[in-house]
């Protein structure tokens, strides 16, 4: 068998292998976040806590929009609700349910404060999030 085609085939295989390896080694971004996942980082980073990840999908299986957005008074805009832990202790915002009666209580910090440090407040995969260039990371 002629040597040149064999060499070419060998090099081709090597390159194919390298390309395949590079393709599966792409570092994961936030592309895998669920549609409507809200990151809330109004005060978390400054307080040395991980930002909060609020999964809309999980909550809408259990409650209709009405409960949080009419009864509890959550505004329809990420970051426009001035939520802090004192208000939650007092039963406002998340505290209306996260009180160990309906959902886990406030002592389970890591269940809500579970986001990557430094993420900005935003709704993942929202139209504005996809069309508008993101500002610098951190608090918005």
């Amino acid at each position: 068998m002629p040597l040149k085609p064999m060499l070419a085939a060998g090099v081709g295989l090597l390159v194919a292998g390298l390309i395949a390896f590079a393709l599966v080694n792409v570092p994961p971004g936030d592309a895998q976040a669920e549609y409507g996942d809200v990151v809330i980082n109004n005060y978390s980073d400054d307080a040395g806590m991980r930002p909060v990840v609020f999964p809309h999908w999980f909550h809408r299986i259990r409650f209709r929009c009405n409960v949080c957005h009419a009864e509890l008074g959550f505004e329809f805009k990420a970051g426009s609700n001035d939520i802090n832990m004192l208000k939650i202790f007092d039963g406002e915002f998340c505290g209306a349910c996260h009180n160990n009666e309906i959902a886990w209580g406030v002592e389970n910090c890591v269940l809500c404060h579970s986001g990557m440090p430094g993420m900005r407040t935003r709704v993942h995969h929202s139209t504005s999030d996809r069309l508008v260039a993101p500002p610098t990371a951190g608090r918005q």
């Binding site: 085939a9 292998g17 599966v24 259990r62 929009c65 009419a70 389970n108 995969h125 139209t127």
Partner: protein
């Protein structure tokens, strides 16, 4: 050893290296895909995850999702919280959270958003979300009124059903702050919606995204309307000018 033999040996070595690289890549595919696909990864803690099989939602066709300004949706939907890129895998609580792939198993699918048809899931009784916080028996205060909004151009008109919206929301969520409940009083544009105003307060954030055009623009124009549109354009005037010449 002759030169030819030496060259043959070299070629065989290169071939073997190539094959080895392919095998490694193959192993990487299976191994690394496991970190991305919830169905292939063993759960980090002992919660019932055995049923998390392949994501059932269909992949959106490339033609319908293409927009040079928009990022492509994730190819494999419903990653485990630890792999979704926003939860911190270093955080112990991350591993206790429910996986979307587990929650969505029996839900009717769509091509975008959460890949879940939430309205269908609700009307089919697959989910029973509370309408009021304190009262599990409370039923939604619904209204069956359909609004048809005529839109410019040849785009089908928008059909807005109050029924499906009032199943989830309260009247005060939209009226009067976002929409004035009077005909002709609301100036709505796709630009406003894309910026998160009007319908865009929910659609494109949590409710189905604006890429699903025909779910709102669902009443096609009549042939008369389309003819009137064609007559209004500069086309016939031009042709008459051409006739004169």
């Amino acid at each position: 050893m002759t030169d030819i033999k030496r060259l043959t040996l070299l070629a065989v070595t290169v071939l073997l290296t190539g094959a080895a690289a392919l095998v490694t890549a193959g192993m990487a595919v299976t191994g690394l895909a496991g970190t991305k696909r919830p169905d292939l990864q063993a759960p980090p803690v002992q919660i019932a995850q055995a049923e998390t099989t392949k994501p059932r939602a269909k992949k959106p066709s490339a033609a319908n999702t293409f927009n040079r300004l928009m990022k492509k949706p994730a190819s494999a939907p419903h990653a485990a919280p630890a792999d979704d890129g926003i939860h911190d895998p270093e955080n112990s609580g991350t591993h206790l959270l429910q996986w979307p792939s587990e929650a969505f198993q029996s839900f009717p699918g769509t091509n975008d958003g959460n890949r879940v048809d939430w309205v269908k899931a609700l009307t089919e009784g697959l989910i029973a979300p509370r309408y009021e916080l304190e009262d599990p028996e409370s039923e939604a205060f619904t209204m069956d009124l359909v609004i048809v909004r005529e839109v410019k151009g040849s785009m089908p008109d928008v059909v807005y059903p109050h029924q499906q919206h009032t199943e989830w929301l309260d009247c005060t969520n939209c009226h009067d702050e976002i929409f004035v409940p009077a005909k002709g009083e609301n100036q709505i544009s796709m630009a406003a919606i894309l910026l998160g105003q009007k319908c865009g307060v929910c659609h494109g954030k949590v409710a189905f995204p604006v890429t699903d055009c025909r779910r709102c623009h669902s009443k096609p124009k009549t042939i008369e309307q389309l003819r009137a549109l064609a007559n209004r354009s500069a086309w016939p005037a031009k042709s008459e000018a051409a006739k004169k010449q």
